[in-house]
Structures are given as C-alpha cells and as structure tokens.
Point group: C2
Chain length 530, copies 2
C-alpha cells in the first residue's frame, strides 16, 4: 500500500482504523482496484511515474462524518484531496495533484436539501450531480431551470468551485451560487453569508451577510471542504428564440464582436455565444490543416483568397448564434433589435433559429441542443471523436475582434515556433462563458503514448507562457499544470500567491487540505519544493 507523503505505516494504519470507525469500513478504500478508480482517466502522465495515484479514499455520508474525517487527517497530518463527483475529465478528474494523498470523496452526500420555486433557488450537497438536481426538479414539476455544463454528470458544487461555465443566463456557475457551508481544516463548520444567522431566512437569497464576503476564498483553493451550497435558478421562461448572424469579410469580426459585447452587456443577449467560421472550418477540413496553422503558416491562403472562397462557396467568414430567453414578444423584440444593431455591417445576413415555448415536450427535448435549456446530457463525448482523452488549454482574452485576431496570430506563431505539425494545431474560437470576456477553449489530445504526452505537455506549458506574455491567463487548468499557471499570475513578485500562502498557513496550519491545488502548497511542501 502506498503511503501518504510524510506519514509512516503505523500512523497510516491507525488513521485508517479511525476513518473506518467514523464512516464505516465499507467506505474506506485501500485496495488497488478501488483506489485506481480515483486516478485520472485522461492523465497526461499515462505510464509515467508522475501519474498521481492516491494512497486510499474515504467517503463520508454527512457533514458530521466530514468533520471527523478532517479531524483525524489533521491529527495524523494526512493530506486529503477533496472531490465531489470527481468527473471533471479534461482538468484532472478525481486524481490528486500529489501522489499518496487520500481522496476525500463526497459523492455519497447526494441530498437535494431544498428547491424553492417562488424565489428560484436550490440548496444541495456536493455529491448531487446536475442529472440528480434536474431529475428532482422534474419529478416535483417545479418551474425552474438549472444551468448545466458539458457534460451533466458533474456536481453543481464542484463545478461552481472550479468556476465552470454553462450556456443559459445563469451560466457563470460560481456567480450563480448563494451561501455555503464549509468544514475548516480544524473540523469546525462555518456558514457564510446569511447562513451565519442561526435562524437564517435568506441564506440562498442574499449573498454577502455581514462583514467580509469570503465565499470566493473557497473556489479554486484548498482552504476548506464545502459541504452545502445554494444556487440561484432561472424561473422557467415563457419562450426562447435564437438567430444566427453571418458576415463575409475577415475584418467584419471587429463589428461582429463589438455588437455582441454591447448586446451582452445590455442583457439583451443572455446565453453563451461562440464566434465561429464556417469558411475556415470547411477549408481546414478539406486541406487537412489545423486551425492555427491555416491562418499563420507561410502556406496560409491570403485574406483576399479566403474571402473569395467564402463568396464562391457561400460560406460566412464569421458567424455567431445569439440566444434569447423570456416572454415570446420580448425575445422577438430582442432579436429584431439585434438585427438592427448588426445592420451596420455591410452584407451581414441573418437566419432565424428555433423559436420555442416552455415546457418542451419529451419529443422536442430529444431534438434540441439540451445544454441550451439547462438539460444535463453527455452528448459532448460523442463529439470528441476518437481520442483516448483530452485536456483543455483555456485562456481568457478580451471580448473584441482585435483580441481574437491577435490570439490567432500569437498561438499560431507559437505552434509554428515549436514545430507542431500544421494538422495538429487547433482553432482559436472564442466563447462567452462569462460576461465581458472570451474564453478560448483549445483541446489537447491525451494518448497512451509517453512520447506524445510529453511533447504535448511541453507545448501546453509554452502556450501558457506565451499567453501570459500577451496578458492572457487561464481561467482554470488541469492539476498537472496548476503550478505552471499559478506561476504566471506573478504581479509584484507573486504577491497574490504569497497572500494565498499566508491565508493557507493560518487556516490550515498542518497543510492537510488538497495540497498543491491551484499552486497553493502548505508550508512544509513549499520549503521542500524550493
């Protein structure tokens, strides 16, 4: 049996006994068969020593058991890596940053504690999945929507703490949360916001409470174990409609995005919009060139050539689909207004999309893009093609056409400088998962091939650095790159990271909670690293 770092066999054995007493022996996992389930199914370290393997796992069923587990871990100084459903493939899955950590698996804490239809909120435990919450709401016939990421097997709490995004008006999942319960490293329970009032009536209705608003400290961090969280839901809208805006010229991207930004900042367009290029996608498919290479190698067609091909084949250079949620006459007026605003672009064309009223019939649900309506699903895996896994490089860039051009040029050049074969470069298409900025999602393949993974890791690290040089930073990252990404957020000699470390040492002096998460290490491991 693997031992946790810094823990001897006797202590670990004693601790396991105590964990068993706390949660029942069926819920402490130590066999290779069980423990391997917590490894990263898409690990960029497949077949390498760095592939993180936990020492054991423990799965409490309620907050009292979580308190006991944390207290035992604190006594024996056993590092524990907390997961909720642990399905976050592409960003590290259930595996710890550090081999030998015990996994604190919260999937058995799967109670939907409340869904309030009138004030449109939910209170859940960490093991509740998007599927669970959706089914609960459907079974009770409540007229509220959740927002779901791709895919829907994740946990609203886990995804929100990772600051993930979705597709409907409440798509910024951390921003949509309201109120937390947290078990600290000392085993104490803290409730944030109005939850700090013993008989709180607005825990899920007012975020801040009184005094410092600390919820954000527990996102992308290792300062506590979140055991309950509230979420704001969208009252089921009367209707929905979508519309696609297409433009023919390369430079039309600038007014296309400026208008999108205006419409989003004005709350007229509300869902996630991706700016794509039917023209470039088509050429990439037929030429076998990947996106970045298509735009930046010496063999790239000129802009004039591309525009000509677009004209001949009737393919828009750029397009984007807009989503409107609300009463039918309101969404119709919003789409009309969007078309008016976009009409400043010469040659712009519009295509009406779906127009729906809710609730959808079972048959309709089968034929709509489910994520657009907060319906959890796993179809994204069907779209991935035949890779053995993937991970995401996901920098944030400004919401402007100029920034998209610059990102395409910069990442294209970076691929070229590293000698990446043109076919293996990815497009840089921006999505508005968050208000006011774009996320660029670049998928990286994972293979059961040590050499390929090694090379991809180098490329990944280089892209992080190149992005940072241009003022773009990742909004989250795979556990394998957490130090790399944290390292580029370095203003004033890493003052922000040092602040996090100061807080870490104060609230978790033994450093037992998720060491290394997002680049934050406990004191003794920082020293070891340095």
């Amino acid at each position: 049996m693997r031992l946790p770092p810094g823990v001897n066999a006797k202590d670990f054995s004693d601790a396991l006994k105590q964990f068993s007493e706390a949660v029942g022996k069926d819920w402490v996992f130590t066999s290779d068969e069980d423990v391997n389930l917590y490894r990263d199914a898409y690990s960029p370290f497949w077949h390498e020593d760095e592939d993180p393997v936990p020492s054991a796992a423990v799965a409490p069923i309620n907050v009292e058991q979580v308190q006991q587990v944390v207290r035992i871990a604190n006594t024996f100084k056993i590092p524990i890596w907390t997961i909720s459903t642990g399905k976050n493939l592409g960003y590290g899955g259930a595996a710890p940053r550090l081999s030998g950590c015990m996994v604190l698996d919260l999937k058995r804490m799967d109670k939907v504690l409340e869904v309030n239809e009138k004030n449109a909120y939910a209170l859940v435990e960490p093991g509740v999945s998007y599927f669970d919450l959706y089914r609960y709401i459907q079974d009770k016939g409540l007229k509220v929507w959740i927002d779901t990421p791709d895919p829907g097997w994740g946990s609203p709490i886990g995804n929100s703490l990772d600051r993930g995004g979705g597709y409907t008006p409440f798509r910024d999942h951390f921003d949509a949360h309201c109120g937390m319960e947290v078990v600290l490293a000392n085993g104490e329970i803290v409730r944030t916001g109005m939850g700090a009032l013993p008989t709180a009536k607005t825990w899920q209705q007012y975020r801040y409470g009184f005094g410092p608003y600390i919820d954000g400290m527990f996102s992308q961090s290792n300062f506590g174990v979140v055991t309950k969280m509230g979420f704001w839901l969208l009252p089921q809208p009367e209707g929905y409609r979508s519309g696609t805006v297409s433009v023919a010229k390369h430079d039309d991207l600038v007014p296309l995005v400026d208008t999108l930004s205006y419409l989003m900042n004005s709350s007229i367009v509300q869902g996630t919009t991706t700016v794509g290029s039917p023209l470039l996608m088509s050429i990439a498919r037929s030429s076998g060139m990947g996106g970045a290479a298509l735009l930046t190698t010496p063999k790239s067609p000129s802009i004039a050539d591309l525009e000509k091909i677009g004209q001949e084949k009737n393919l828009p250079y750029w397009n984007c689909e807009l989503h409107f949620y609300g009463p039918s006459k309101v969404v119709d007026a919003q789409w009309e207004y969007a078309k008016e605003k976009y009409s400043v672009i010469p040659g712009v064309t519009f295509q009406d999309g779906q127009s729906l009223r809710f609730p959808l019939s079972a048959d309709q649900i089968e034929h709509v893009p489910k994520r657009q309506f907060g319906i959890p699903n796993l179809t994204v895996f069907g779209m991935m093609g035949r890779t053995e896994g993937h991970m995401w490089f996901s920098p944030i860039i400004p919401m402007s056409g100029e920034a998209v051009f610059e990102a395409q040029r910069v990442f294209g050049q970076a691929y070229a400088d590293m000698g990446v074969p043109p076919a293996e470069t990815t497009f840089v298409f921006p999505s508005s998962f968050f208000p006011r900025s774009f996320v660029v999602l670049c998928g990286f393949p994972i293979a059961h091939d040590v050499e390929k993974n090694r090379k991809n890791r180098q490329i990944f690290k280089r892209l992080v650095e190149v992005a940072a040089q241009h003022g773009w930073g990742e909004y989250r990252t795979h556990t394998a790159f957490m130090d790399t990404v944290a390292n580029v957020y370095s203003y004033n000699d890493h003052a922000l990271l040092h602040f996090h470390e100061t807080v870490k040492d104060a609230v978790d002096p033994n450093g037992i909670l998720s060491p290394g998460r997002c680049g934050i290490w406990p004191k003794h491991m920082r020293k070891a690293k340095a």
Copy 2:
C-alpha cells in the same frame, strides 16, 4: 493632542514626522480644527464620551505613499482607519470605530484611470466620487452609465466595499466591481483577478483570475487598503419606461411580490423597486401615527376598515413602480408582459410611467428622478425633513409578501414592547436593492440630545436582536453598532467571526488596519474586550 491607543507620545511624534516626510507636511492633520472634520456629523454619541474622535489624519496622493503610510503605521503600531470620500452619513461618516485611530484619508487619490466604452468598464481610485466619474464620462461623451447610490458624493470604491446599492441594472455595487489593487498591512501591493498577470488585458473584464477569488475579503473588512478598483458599466440603453402596479386588498401584497420576484429573477424588471402603500402613508400622515404603530397597536384600524378607506379615497393598499431599461420595443414588450402576469390579481390597476429615449436633454434631466438613470445628485437630503441627522437600521428579509407582513408585525410589536410613542415608529417598506431579497430601510433620527440618542441606541440594538431571532440580519450598519450586528451572525458559536479573526491575525499581525470594522478586532484588542 489625543494619542492613538497603545502608542506613547514620543513614538507618535516620531511617526507624524515620518508621515510628513512621506506625504508632505500639508497632508498630515493634527489640529483640532482639522481633525474634527473627520468626526461623524450624524453621531449617535453627540456630546458623549463614546463619540469617536481621531488622533490625526494623513492623506496620501498615490499608492506609493499609501505603502509608506502603512509601513510607518506598522512600525509604530498605530491603528489607521481608512476612508475614501468619508461621506457615508447615516453609517458613521469619516469617523473611526475607535477614538484615537488615525484616519487614512484617500480623497486625494482622485484619478479616473480608464473608462472603456466598448467593453463598458471603468478603473478608478478611491477618492473619485460618483460625481467625478459621471462628469468624466459626460465630458468625453462616452455612451456608458454608472450606477449611483443616494447621495452621489460618495466614492464608487468606498460604497462598493461597504456593499451599498443603487437603482439601475448594476445597482449591486460590489457585484458590479471587477478587479482590485490592495495595499496589505505589510505595505505590499496585491492585484486581484486578472490583475495578477503583469501585463493583464482583462483585469476589468474577467473577475476571478486563477486560484482563490479573494475580492470579497476586502469588503466590509479591515484586511487591506483598496487603492484601485474596476467597475462594470451599463452601455447607454436606447430607452427606458416605467409603470406602476396598484392593488386594493391587504392580502394582494403576496401575489404582488411573488410576481415582482418572478419578473426580477427573469431579468425582465431590472431596477430597484420599492413596494409602498399610498393608503397607509395617507392615514399615517392624517392620524399622526407612525407606520409600525399604525399596523400593530390595539388602536390600529382593522384590515377591513383600511380596505374600505382605500376604496372610498381611491388609494391603493399597495403599489410598486417597475423599471425597464433597453430598446424601446423591448421595454414596451416587457411592460406588456408584466401587466399580463399581474392580471391574475383581481382589481389590479396599471399606470404607464415615463417613456424615455437616451441621451436625455439637459431640460429632461432636471425633471426626471436622476438616480434612476445613474445621474449623481444630493436631492435625498432635501427629502429627509428637519432632523439633525439620521442612521439606518437595514435588515434583509425574504422577497415575499408573507415576510413583509411578518416584519411589519414583529417590528411593530418590538416598538410597542419598548414603549416607543406611536408617532415615532417607522414603516417597513421593502426595496429590491439586491437581487432575490428585500432590504427594509428604517431611518433613525439623531439629535443633539444625549437622552434621546441614548434611547434610540437602545431601540436600535433591540431591533437588531429581534430581527436576528426571526432570521433577518442587517446588510451593513453604523460603526456604533458593528459589534452588535456582528454578534448576531453567531452560527456555531461565532465560527464565521472566528474565521475572520484568524485571517486578520495572519494578514495584519499588528492589527493596524481599521480595528473594529464590522466587529473584527486585532488580537490584543479582542483580549482587552474579553
């Protein structure tokens, strides 16, 4: 000269010399005449020993000077109370919680660093007022709106850190911020969110950055001195319209509020809405009874009587004004839809309000409620009547008619139990300064009368306790009541406050920053208190 607590005359004199070297001697204030300007003009302790008087004040002009000031204060362990414009009358003004603190006055840091029209954001320093920012935008002809509280002489940074509210779609001022620069107690500068990237391009466009999102820690707290902050602005909308919904029966409040909640949670209604009662206001005026007494004393008219008076005098029992911002055809459709939804209430009536297109002419601006359009003003002081000052009791209650009834009953009973004369009790009308919940704003008069103030302070404290027993907590409070309010947020033996204290001791070990703010005291003063 008054000395800061725990500092001897020699050290204070040395420190003042160093402060003068840091910021120039003209910007260190020690005379009674100067220092008295930092006292609370609306102090509930007028003419009493507890009225907090600072020892001195220092006004740096840039972040480097702030760093020096903080470092000097840290060396000499001088407690400093940070203010921006210090105009927050009703919640303590410029005065420290603790007599003898030095005031760190940031009003000279008054630069608008950037206003970006395309992405609709601003970056400002703490001394910038709402008036300053508004004028800057008008002078440059930029088509973006700020949101302003009543009144407009405050600081966007100060108000946002106090978690104040306004009237337009970006009325939750803390929620509308994006990115901070903070000077820590050790003098180090931290930039949060994407500002931690040295060449950040999205500091004001993406909130979270990578790792823990710590901005909330610096609101209603004393963990750092915020020296820059970004804010999201509203692109100037094409139009606006309002409409008033009126209902005749007492119990109609329930569907009135439920529908409001649905419309707000659906982003159809976007500004702050207050639910009022023309009927009750009229009776209160003519009977000389204050609001709470009118509803809850044995002499109160019955509901049936009230409804009858309302019918006879054609006065709505309840009403609310809805605000819609956006393209003219969209806001028209939204108001139509709102009327449809409200039509389920028998006898409901509607009155069209103003319908406007922007920009407004200078003449129009003089005749509209400015705050509704983000135009700073001071008219609220004209509305206050002839008091010598005021302070606010401002609990959060659920957004439901039932909760409003309960709050009216509970606070009315509390007034009666304390023997408050009926004429001096206030109404409990709820406002949606924040999404999903109501704030109840009850003004308390301040007088230059020791006995009256003493009595009012007792009533205030009792109301805080009564509110807490019913699960309602204040969203902010006057410095004089910070310990009282912090004390009721007591879940799990004050675990949240103890967490704040742990953080405080770690990030400000000498306890120099704003001791006592929101109930958080440095270690040595906690011990003295206990």
